[in-house]
Subunit: 491 residues, 3 copies
C-alpha cells in the first residue's frame, strides 16, 4: 500500500520525464542539424548557400578535408566546464547528511535534461530557415544553461519532489534563454563568464521560488538540524568545491575571443586565489574564531562569480586580487549574517546559500563590469578596444563607454526582475497538488524517492561467513590462512 | 602460522608479477623505440629510410625543430581516457561494502600492468624490421586495451585472488589484441569507440570466465548480501560513474579522423544525456517506483557504449538521442530482469553487471553500425564518404555499403566467439589450485590480501589524549583553549 | 572562555593572513603586469621597446589580432598540474582519521597563498625595468612552487597551527625561488619535472623543520595511533593518489620544449606504470605478505619523481620502466624500513613519508640526470642535442657532457644544503611561542581550529520527524506513502 502510494507519486514523475524526452527527440529531429564543421563537405555547401556571405566565404575557402579546429580550440575548456556541472555542482551539494543520493542523482538528471532542452531553446531562438546548427560551442553554451538551473536547484535542495525539480528546470530554461538572448543581442551586454545571465538569474530565480514555496516547517526551531553535515559528507562536498575552484578559469574564458582568453584565465586564477585567502580570514572573524567548512566549501568560489563579467577586460592582476578579496568577504558575510535575516524575516529558505555564492557576487560582478566599461579607452585597450567592446565599434553603433556601463546595469536590472518574477510564478505552479509536493517528514531525506541500501547486521554477516567456511575445507593451504571470523567482521 | 599461510599465497603473486615486469622490460628493450616525432631528428632519418615512402616524405619535409603536434592534438583526450580507466573504473567498483581497497587497488594494478603488456602485444603485431614505435596514440590505444580488461575484471570482482586477476589480464590482453588486429586490418571493421572490440569482448570474456568459475557458494540464498553497498560506498562509486559519463565523448572521438572528431563528440554528448534521462524513467518503472543507485551508477553509461561504433557517422543529433534512450532502457532491463536469469538459470554470476553496461549495449552498437553503414551514400556523406568508410574507396577494395554492414556483423560474431571461447578457457586455467583460488569466507572481503586499518577504541584514544595533556601544561594561553576531552572524542 | 582563548590564537592567524594578502595586492599593483600576449596590442608595443630584440622581432611580426596560442599550448597541461596541487595533494593527505578538514583546507589555503607569493618572488627575480610579466607559464611555475611547499606541509602535517603553516610557506617560497633561480640561471641545471628544485627541496626543507620541531610526545609508544586511517579516509586518500599518478606526465612535460614534450609524456607514463607494479611486489615482500594501502597511496608515485629530471631526454622506454621499478622499490623500502630509523634514531617525524615519496626518489632523479647527461652525444641526440642540452651549445658556453653531469650533482648538493639549513632555521622560528604552537592534546585533531559538525542523536531526529508528520496530514496521497519512522532513521 505504502509502496503503491509512493509509486503513484514517482510514476507520474517518470511519465512526465518520458513525455519531455520524446518531445526533445522530435524537436531535435525537426530543427537540429550538425554545424558546417561537423557535417560532411557536401552538406556543408548546401548549408552555406542558405547562410551569410561571411560564412559562405569561410566554407568555400575550406579544402574538403581541411582539419577542423573546433575540437582542438574548445574541447579542453568544454570538458573543464562539464566537470564543473556534474562533479562540481553534484558533489558540492552532497554535504546534506541524508540527502546525498538525491543531491548527486537529481543534479545529474537535471543537467542531462537541461543540456538537451537548453540546446533546443537556444536553437529555436537562432533558427536559420527553420534549422539550428550544433557544434562545439553549442555544447559549451548548453552546459552554461545547466549551471543556471543547478544554482536554482541549490536554493530548494531537499525540499521538492523529483517531479517538481523537473518542472522547475523546464520553465527556468525557457525564461533563462530568452533573458540571455535579449541581453546579448539587444542590450549587447558583456558577460563572458555569465555572472549576470547565469549566476544572478539562477540565484534569484531560485530564491523567489523558495520564498513562494515557504512552508511552516522551516520555522521550526530545530528544522535546520535536518540539514546537518557529517565529516564524511563534508569531504565529499569538498570534491565539488575544489573542482569548481580549479576549473573556474575555463568557465570564465571558454567563450572569450581567442586573443582575450589568456587574460581571462590569468584574472580568474588570481581572483580565486585571493578569494580563498579572504575566506579563511573572514571565517575566523565571523565564525567565533573557528574555520567553518561551510564557508570554505562556498565562499572560496565567490571570486569566480565576481570577476565573471570582466574576466577578459583590463582589470589588471592586482585588480583581480582586490575583486577576489571583496567577493570572499561579501560571501562570508552573507553566510554568517545575511542568511538568517533572509530566512527569519523574509521567509526565504536558501539550502545551499546560493544568495551568498552566486547572487550577491553576481550583482557585484555586474557593478564592476559597469565601472570597467565606463573607463574603457583607446589608450588602455589600444587597437583591441573594439575586440573587447564590440558595441563601441563605430560600424556597430559606436556606443560611448558610459553608455555601455549603463547597458551593463540595465542588463542586471532586467535579469533581476525577470528572475524574481518568473521564479515566483514557477513557485506558485510548483505548489499544485498535482506535482506531488514533499510531505514534511521526507524533507531532506533520500528515503522519499530512493531505494536505500539494506543493512547487514554483524550477526547476519557472521552467519554467512560461517556457512562459507564449508567451501574452504578442501583448500588446505588456505584454511590455515583464514583470518579469525571476528577479524573479518571488525572492519 | 596463518600469516605464513597467507604469505605463501601472496608471495607467489608477487613473484609472478616480478617475472612479468622483468619480461616487459626486456621486451621493451629489444623491440620498443620512440616514434619519429618523439625521437631526435638524427634517429628520425635512420627511421625514415626503413619506412614507407609517405613517411619518408613527411619526415624529410620536417624542419629539424618543427614543433610536434601529437601532444597538442591527442593529449587532452588521452588524459580524459586515462581518468576513465583509473578514476572511472576504479571508483565505479568501490560500491562493494567490504571490497573498496581491492576494487581500487587491483584496478590500479591491472591497468598499470596492461598498459605495458598491451603496448607490447600491439607492437609485436606491428613490427617494422623487428622494432615497434611508441607515440601519443600508442598510449591511447594501450588505455583502450586496459578498458577491455577492466570490464572483464568487473564481472569477477570480489571472487578471485590477485594472482588469478593478473593471469587473467595476461591472457586476455593477448587474445584481445589479436582479435582487434584481425577485425581492423582484415575485416576493416569501423569501431571508433571500441564498442565491439573493447566492450563486447571484455564483457563476454569476463562472463564466460565467470561461468566456468561458478562456485556453489553463489547459489546460497543470502550470498549477495556480501555485495551490499552503503551510502558512503555509493557516493564513492558515483565518482567513477560521473567521470566515465563526462569523458566518454573523448573515448569515442579520440581515435576518430581529425575532421570527424567534432561529430563524434556531439553524438556521444547527446546520446549520454538522453541515456541518463531514460535511466531515471526505467528505474521508476522497473524498480518498484524507486530510484535505484545501482541503475544510476551503471545504466546511465550504456549510451556511450551503444553509440561507440557509429559516433563519427551521420546518425544525426536526434538519432543519437534515440540510441541513448534505447541503450538506457536495455541496460535497466538487464539489471532488473536479465541479471537474475543469468545468475539463477545460467549460473553466470556478474558482480558489476557488465552484461548490462557493456555486453548488450555493445551488441546493440554493432547492429546499429551495420544499419548505418548499409545506408552510407555519396548523397549523405559527400566527398567525405571515403574518409568515414575507407573500405568503400575504390582504391581500397571499394566495398558496397551492404558489404560493409555484413563485415560489421561478422566482426561482432568473431568477437563474441573469440571472447566466449578464450574466456571459458581462461576460466579453466584459473581453476588451477596453483593459482590460489579464494577461500569462500574471503569472498568480497579486503581482509583476504589487504592490511586493514587498526581500530582505535574511544578509551584508547581518551588515554592517549590524557597523556598528551601533560605537554599542554606550560602553554598557558592554550591550556585555557583546550576543548573538553569528550568534545575531542565525540567526532 | 575556552572559546575566547581559542579565538585569541586563531585571530592572530587571521590578522597575519590579512597583512600578507594586502602586501600581495600592493606588490602586484607596483610590479605586476600582463605579458605581451595577454595585454592589448598597443601596450604590447610599448613593452617591446623596453624588451630584448628577439621579443621585439616576435611582437612586431605579430598582427594586431593574430590569435595567441599560449592558452591552446599550455592550458590543458596547466589544468592537470592544477588538479595535482588541489585535488592530488589535498586528498592524498586526508588519510588521517581526525584531520581531514585540516589536511584539505590548509592544503587549499597554502596553495592559494603560494600561487600569489610564488608569482611575486619569481617576478621580483626577473624584473625588467621594475616590472614583471604574467602569462600562462607564470601560472604553471607558480603551481610548481605550490608543489614544493605542499611537500614540506606533508612532513609536518597535523603538528603545526595554521599560523605556523602560513609562516612556513612564506619563508619557504622565498628560499625555494632563490635556490631554483640560481640553479637554473647560473648552474644551468636541467630539471624539467622539478625533481631537484621542487621535490628534493620540499622534502628536506620539511624534514629539517620537522627535526627541529620534534616534541617529546612523538616518542610516546602509542603516539602514532593518532595518525590511524580508516577505510573511508583511505578511499578519499586514493582520490589524491590516482589524480597525481594520472597527471604526472603533464607535470614532467609541461615546461619541456614543445618538440620534447611527447618524449617526456611517454617516459613518465611508462615509468609510473612499472612503479605501480613494483609497489605491489614490494608491499608483499616488505609488509608481511599483505598489500598496504599506505604504500599504494604513496610509493606508486615515486616513479614520477625519479624520472622528473630526465623525462625529456633519451632514456628510452625500457629505461623509463627500469627507473620506475627502482623508484618503487626505493620508496617502499623507505616506508617499511627507513621511516622507523628516521623517527626513532634521528627524531625526524615524517607524517606523510615525504622522504620516501619525494626525498629519496628526488635524489635518485638527480643522480640519473647526471648519468644521462654524461652520456649525451651528437650520435644519440642528433641535431636536437643543443635543444635538449642548451648549455652544451658552443654559443652558450659549450659545456662537455661530463661537466653538465657534475653541474647536475652540484645543483643537488646546493639544493640539499639550502633546504636543510633554511628548513632548520624555519623550524627554530616556528618554535616561537608567538606563533601559537599546537598543544599536545590537539595534535592531529581538526578540533583545534575547525568548527566540527554537530551530532544529531537518533532521538533528536525522531522527535523532529514526528513534529513534521503534522504537515503531512492534509496530503492524503502521501500520508499513505510515508515510510515508517524507524525506516527513515535506520540509514
Amino acid at each position: 500500500m505504502a509502496l503503491h502510494g509512493e509509486g503513484a507519486g514517482s510514476k507520474k514523475f517518470a511519465v512526465v520525464l518520458l513525455v519531455f524526452q520524446i518531445l526533445f527527440i522530435v524537436l531535435f529531429g525537426i530543427f537540429g542539424k550538425y554545424h558546417l564543421d561537423a557535417a560532411p563537405p557536401k552538406q556543408a555547401e548546401t548549408t552555406t548557400i542558405t547562410s551569410s556571405g561571411v560564412r559562405l566565404a569561410a566554407s568555400t575557402s575550406k579544402a574538403p578535408y581541411e582539419p577542423d579546429h573546433a575540437v582542438r580550440d574548445y574541447y579542453p575548456m568544454f570538458q573543464d566546464v562539464h566537470v564543473m556541472m556534474f562533479i562540481g555542482f553534484g558533489y558540492l551539494m552532497t554535504f546534506l547528511r541524508k540527502y546525498g543520493y538525491s543531491s548527486l542523482s537529481i543534479n545529474f538528471l537535471l543537467a542531462a535534461f537541461v543540456i538537451q532542452w537548453g540546446t533546443l531553446m537556444r536553437g529555436l531562438l537562432h533558427l536559420h530557415d527553420w534549422q539550428f546548427e550544433i557544434n562545439m560551442t553549442t555544447l559549451l553554451t548548453s552546459d552554461f544553461t545547466a549551471a543556471c538551473i543547478l544554482i536554482s536547484f541549490g536554493a530548494v535542495l531537499g525540499k521538492l519532489s523529483p517531479l517538481q525539480y523537473v518542472i522547475m528546470a523546464f520553465i527556468e530554461v525557457a525564461v533563462f534563454s530568452v533573458n540571455e538572448w535579449v541581453g546579448i543581442n539587444y542590450l549587447k551586454t558583456l558577460d563572458v563568464g555569465g555572472s549576470i545571465f547565469v549566476h544572478v538569474f539562477g540565484a534569484y530565480f531560485g530564491l523567489a521560488m523558495s520564498r513562494v514555496l515557504y512552508r511552516w516547517e522551516y520555522s521550526m526551531g530545530d528544522f535546520n538540524t535536518l540539514k546537518f553535515n557529517t565529516k564524511t559528507t563534508d569531504l565529499f562536498s569538498m570534491i565539488g568545491t575544489i573542482f569548481l575552484w580549479m576549473f573556474w578559469p575555463s568557465f570564465n574564458s571558454a567563450m572569450a575571443a581567442e586573443e582575450l582568453q589568456q587574460r581571462a584565465v590569468i584574472n580568474t586564477y588570481f581572483c580565486l586565489a585571493s578569494c580563498c585567502v579572504a575566506t579563511f580570514i573572514c571565517s575566523i572573524f565571523f565564525h567565533h574564531g573557528k574555520i567553518s567548512m561551510e564557508l570554505i566549501q562556498n565562499a572560496t568560489l565567490a571570486g569566480g562569480v565576481a570577476i565573471g563579467s570582466t574576466a577578459d577586460m583590463m582589470v589588471h592582476p592586482y585588480g583581480a586580487l582586490i575583486i577576489g578579496f571583496g567577493a570572499g568577504v561579501l560571501s562570508c558575510a552573507g553566510f554568517c549574517f545575511i542568511n538568517n535575516v533572509l530566512e527569519r524575516r523574509l521567509k526565504v529558505h536558501d539550502t545551499c546559500g546560493v544568495n551568498n555564492l552566486h547572487g550577491m557576487p553576481g550583482v557585484l560582478a555586474a557593478v564592476i563590469s559597469a565601472i570597467v566599461c565606463a573607463f574603457a579607452s583607446e589608450s588602455l585597450y589600444g587597437s583591441s578596444l573594439y575586440k573587447v567592446f564590440p558595441s563601441m565599434d563605430p560600424d556597430n553603433g559606436g556606443r560611448s563607454p558610459m553608455y555601455q556601463a549603463l547597458y551593463q546595469l540595465s542588463a542586471l536590472g532586467m535579469t533581476l526582475a525577470t528572475a524574481l518574477i518568473s521564479g515566483a510564478i514557477t513557485g506558485f505552479i510548483l505548489r499544485l497538488k498535482f506535482l506531488d509536493p514533499l510531505p514534511g517528514p521526507l524533507l531532506f531525506d533520500d528515503a522519499a524517492y530512493f531505494a536505500l541500501p539494506d543493512q547487514v547486521t554483524h550477526d547476519q554477516e557472521k552467519h554467512i561467513r560461517n556457512q562459507l567456511e564449508g567451501s574452504a575445507r578442501d583448500q588446505y593451504e588456505f584454511s590455515a590462512a583464514l583470518p579469525k571470523n571476528d577479524r573479518l567482521l571488525t572492519h
